[in-house]
Structure formats: C-alpha cells, structure tokens
Amino acid sequence: MSIALNVITGFLGSGKTTLLKRLLQGESLGDTALLINEFGDVGIDHLLVEDIAPDTVLLPSGCVCCSIRGELKEALLTLLQRRERGEIPAFKRVILETTGLADPAPILATLNNDVQLRGRLHIGLVITLVDASHAVLQERLHPEWLAQVAAADRVLVSKTDLAGDCTALRAHLRALNAGTPILDTHAIHSGDQLLLGEGLRSAEPAIEVSRWQLHQTTTASHGTAQVCSLTFDQPLDWVGFGVWLSMLLRCHGERILRVKGLLNVNASNTPIVIHGVQHCLHAPVHLPAWPGSDRQSRLVFILRGLDPALLRRSFDVFSRRFAA
C-alpha cells in the first residue's frame, strides 16, 4: 500500500516548524514520519521538533533542489527500510518540511520519476505557508515564493495577527492559485485538519468536481505571474492532448509553475483530474462520475514569463488538429 508524502513548504520564517511543532503534540499526527530539510551548517529545526518526534530524519546538505534529489531518495528509502524492519513504528504518512528557499517541483519529480519510490510513496498534499506580514516583499524579491504558492494544494496564511487586514493578500492568493483552499494557521488545531483528505486520491469526488465548477478562473496577470484559464465544451482527444502537454512541459516546464485541470476526454466517461508542477505531471486521477450535466473541461496554468494568448492559440490549434 502506497504511503502519502505530504510536503510543507513556505518561505523562510513563515512558521512551518512552529506549526508542525504545535500539531505534532496532538494525537492525530502520532503515526507520521517527519523529514526536515534544513539549510545551513547546524540544523536547528531538527532540534526544535526532536523531543516530540524522535524519528525525524534531517536531510543535511541544504536546499531541496535538483542536486540533492538523490539524498531525498536515500532518506525516504532508509525510512521505508527501517519501517519494514520494525525499527520504527509503521507510520501511515510522511511529512516533509522543506527549507524556506526550496522550490517544491524537484521533490515532486523525485517521487514521480524514481522507480524505487514510485508505487511505495505518492504525493499527498503540498501545503504552503504564506507569511502575511512579509508576503508582498517576498513575492517581489524571491522567485521561490511564487513557485511555492503556485504548487500548493492548500495555502495557510500565518502571522495574520501581525499583519492586520489580510483581505487583499487573500484575494491575491485566490487569484494566483484559484480553487485552492486558503486557511489561517490559527484555525488549524490538529493534524487531521491540516491534512484533511490528504490529496486528490482520497478527496470526495463530487466535492472535487464542484470545486472546479464553482471556481471560475479568468486569464489575468498577477504580479510576475500570469494565470491562463482554458475551458472547452467538446470532449478532448487524450492522445493528442498528451502529445501537446508533454511537448509544452518539456520546452517550457520551468515557466509553467503549475498546471491543473478537470477534463472531459473522449477516452473516458468520467472526469479526469490532472495536476502538475513545472516539468512534472502526476498520474491522472479518475473520478467516479460527473455529478451533474455540466461536463465542461477546465485547464488552469500559472505561468511566469509565458504569453497566455500564445498558449491559448497553441492549445486551440492542437486540439482542432487532433479532433479532426
């Protein structure tokens, strides 16, 4: 049985360790293995949670980026081996806390592409913490901020007590990553609440489709990011779509911070949900049925430095070509 790997990310000082430390005291995260990726010579975060979760594994060499994918893999494999040997309790989920400077994409790529990990672990939720008091500055100065927000399945806004009115920030986050729940860290009291559903695989299908249908996204620019929303009524040719999207991600992956979609495809009578971060697209998830008569497909791209109009034209040309 595959184990969910949940990723907690957020820029430096956004309160990841504080949140984890608070939630690990509760019972609901009792069967959780925790991996912490710390940047710097002395891993302080590791010590902060050590007394609560003694099975914490620290990835020593800093930022989770392409260069330490192997290390992440080793850490995960060691964890699984120790679990199989009975050296540690049989945890039912893994939480990986990234450094504040990490781009989540390579983590997802490691899990997706590695043959030893694939099948044993799957991506659960990517939870991104946003520091309400410094969000504007961090977005402007650090490209990682946008990558972290774009990759999120759930956004938690922290330090709202210091920032005052967060209405504009919430609206901005909602516009950037439409349909993603935006919660307040103060409102999260247990691990169950944090990881509710643990990703698309266990989400309630009817709710998942409704979520897509309710959140209408429009194509617009938000700071350095462009959100491109495509909707179409005709069922999509899955083979042609696969050729187009794989070609697009290969060529422009680093500029496509996120792609997600609810699709009506000719190869399936049921809705298909796709999720991807940069070059890496997860295996499509089949939902059991369409809840109503609305079968419109929706695709949302969060882009950095790509022209949404050109993307739309490319999609139209390819889909017409393959529909023929």
Binding site: R118, W238, V239, G240, F241, G242, V243, W244, L245, S246, M247, L248, R250, C251, H252, V265, A267, S268, I272, I274, G276, L281, H282, A283, P284, H286, L306, D307, L310, L311, R313, S314, V317, F318, R320, R321, F322, A324
Partner: protein, 100 residues
C-alpha cells in the same frame, strides 16, 4: 509485459491510455501517429521500436532511439539543434494551414 507477444512495454508516463478498450500496442500506434503529425513539420519521423521505444528518423538519415516521450522530445531537439516549441507561431501556422 504483454502475454501474447512478450513485449516489455513502454515506461510509465502520465499520458498513457486511460482505459483498456484497445490493446496497448494499438494505443501506442495511435500515439505515434499523433506525434508524427507534429514532427512532419520538422521533417522528422517516429517509428515504433519493439513496442518499448521510439525510433526517431531525420531527413538526412540520422537515427536515434528514445524510451518514453520526454526522451523523444529531447532526441528531436538534439537532432534539430533547437527545441520543439509547441508555442512557435510558425509551427502553429503550418498546422493550421495544412490540414490532414
């Protein structure tokens, strides 16, 4: 592995067939036909190799093997000397103006 022909099959990819209505080999040929529609613009061609890999053929006789779509796009880029950009207006114009 296919029980009838003993082929190992292609490595897993997110764009693999969603259902099992058609045999895997037939689905694979559909994918190759779709790829060839795009590659024809660049005077490249792809053929199936043992049900597991793609054989990329250039206009001047160059050949390359690729196992999986990602490797195939990389091989095509190496052969052409430039990336295969699906947003390239020239490619889009060509696809629009040259129906099947």
């Amino acid at each position: 592995m296919c029980g009838l022909c003993g082929l190992l099959g292609e490595d897993l990819h997110w764009s693999d067939p969603l259902g099992d209505e058609l045999p895997r080999r037939r689905e694979r040929l559909r994918r190759i036909a779709a790829i060839n529609q795009v590659l024809a613009v660049f005077r490249l061609k792809v053929e199936d190799f043992q049900g597991a890999s793609y054989l990329l053929l250039g206009a001047t006789g160059k050949q390359a093997l690729a196992s999986g779509l990602d490797q195939l796009w990389q091989a095509a880029q190496d052969m052409l000397g430039r990336p295969l950009d699906p947003l390239d207006p020239k490619l889009l114009d060509h696809l629009e103006c040259n129906p099947l």
